[in-house]
Amino acid sequence: MIANIKQVEDKDFNIKRSAEDERKLSYKDHVCIGCGICAKTCPVEAIELGNIAAIVRTDANISKININEEKCVLCGMCSVGCPVDALDLTIDNVSVSELEMYPKYTSSATIDDETCIYCKACEVACPREAITVSRDLPDRSKLVSGEIEIDDETCVYCGICEELCPAEAIYVTKDPENPEIVVDTDACVYCLVCKRACPMDAIMAACRSCSYGEYDIDPADAVTTGNTFIDDELCVRCGWCEGVCPVDAAKVQKPFEGELLVDEEKCSTCGACIDICPCDVLSFPESTGFGQTSAKIARDQEYCISCGACANICPVEAIEVKRTAINYTPTKSKSWTDKLESLKS
C-alpha cells in the first residue's frame, strides 16, 4: 500500500512517499514567513495556516503551517508556490526547483563583488539578517607616509608630544638617568601636531602626502577588498539591499509585482501586520507634531514582496494585497500555469 510517512522535528517536518521515486516535502519553519500562499496553492487542501498572529507575537513553539500527510499527494505545488522556499519538494533528492519541467519564480538577489565597496549598508538594512559583508581594510601605514625625526640633543623629554599625539605613536620615558623618546612610525600619521607643539623645536617632521600630493601612494594599496554573502535560505528578495546600495551593486528581482492597500477606516492599529511583515515594509508612522494626524500605518511600498502575510494576519480585513504579476519560468502544464496565475488578484 502506498502511504505517506511524516517525520516531525521540533517545528520542522517532512512528508515522504517512496515507490517508483522517493518524493520528500520538507518544511523549515524558521524560513517560513507565514504568508499562506502554500495553503492557497494546495490542490487537495492538505495545508492549514496556523494562528499566525498568536505564533508570531508570542514565540509559541508551534509551526506556522500544518500539512495533513494523509491528504498530501506530494505534487510540489506548495514548494513551487512558496516565495521563500520554506517548503521544498525533492524527487530522488533533487529539488524540484532544479528540475526544468517545474515552473520556478524568477526571483533573485545578488551583490556584484566587483562593484561593491563593502560599505555594509545592505547588511544593516536587510530585514532578514541574510547578508554578511566581510572586508579587509587597506594597510593604514601604506596610506600615510612621511618623515619624523627627534633631535635627542634638543629634546627635554617633557612628554607634551606624547600627550597630544592623536595616534598614540610617541612614547616618552622620563627617567632622569636614561630618558628616552620613541616614535612608532607605523602608528604615526604625520599630522605634525607634535612638531607644532614642541616647546624646544626638537621635532622634525614632514607629511609627505601633503608636500608631494598623492604621488607616492599606490592606488592599489588604498582599496578595501572583501566579499559579500547572501543567505538564500533567509533572503526574501525584498530589495532593501538594492534600495540602500550607494553603488548599485545589489540587484533584486521580486517574485511578485503588486500593491498594498490599507483601509484607514477599518485599521485598528493593532500592529499585527508590522510584526509579521518579513520585509520591514510596515511601521507605525513617526509623530509629525502636536495635533497632526498621519496615516495609521506607514508603508515602504518599494520593499514589499506582495506575499500577503499582512492581509492574512489582519484581524479586521483592513489590508488588501493586490498581486498584478507573477514572475516565473514557463511550464507546459496547464494546471500548473493556471495555479500560478491564480495567485494574481
Binding site: R17, L74, Y102, T331, W336
Partner: protein, 155 residues
C-alpha cells in the same frame, strides 16, 4: 490450491502467446516456466481442467479483482504484470485531462507500471493498462479517464 490457479493462468497465457506466434522457448522465458511444461500445456496434458476453469473465471472478473487476486497469488510484481497483461481479456483507452498536476501518485500506485510522468502530466501506456481503475480512484484531481474498448478476443 493457489499454485493450481497460477498454473491455470500460465496455461491460458501459454495458449495466448502461442496464438501470437511465440516459440515454445520464448513462451518459457516470458512465463518463467520450463520448456517441457510449455510443451505439456500446448499438448493439453498435465493440468487439471478445473484449474483452467478457475483461471478462466478469474480473468473474467472485474479488472481490479483480477489484478489484485493475481498479485496476491504470485506476490511478485514483475510476474503479475506479465501474466495479467497476457491474460487480460479487455483493452482500455486512456485519457489524461489537463487538470493533471503531475503528482505521480498514479505512477506509484500502478501495479502494471503503465504510467509515467512527462512534463508534469501523467501518460498511460494503454498496452499495459489493465483497467483496474486504482489510479482513477486515487487521483487527487480526477484527471484520469479509463474506458473499456470492445474486444472480441476469446480464450
Amino acid at each position: 490450491m493457489p499454485k493450481h490457479i497460477i498454473s491455470g493462468l500460465k496455461y491460458l497465457a501459454t495458449i495466448e502467446l502461442k496464438k501470437r506466434g511465440y516459440t515454445q522457448q520464448k513462451i518459457a522465458q516470458t512465463l518463467e516456466i520450463d520448456r517441457s511444461t510449455v510443451s505439456h500445456y500446448l499438448n493439453g496434458r498435465n493440468l487439471s481442467w478445473k484449474s483452467i476453469e478457475v483461471a478462466q473465471t478469474i480473468t473474467q472478473l472485474i479488472p481490479k479483482d483480477f489484478l489484485m487476486l493475481v498479485d496476491t497469488l504470485l506476490n511478485d510484481n514483475e510476474a503479475t504484470r506479465t501474466l495479467v497483461n497476457i491474460c487480460k481479456t479487455k483493452t482500455f483507452k486512456t485519457q489524461i485531462k489537463e487538470s493533471c498536476i503531475g503528482c505521480g501518485l498514479c505512477v506509484d500506485l500502478c501495479i502494471m507500471k503503465a504510467i509515467k510522468l512527462d512534463d508534469l502530466q501523467a501518460q498511460i501506456d494503454s498496452n499495459w493498462c489493465c483497467g483496474c481503475q486504482i489510479c482513477t480512484e486515487r487521483c487527487p484531481t480526477k484527471s484520469i479517464i479509463i474506458l473499456e474498448v470492445k474486444d472480441d478476443r476469446e480464450h
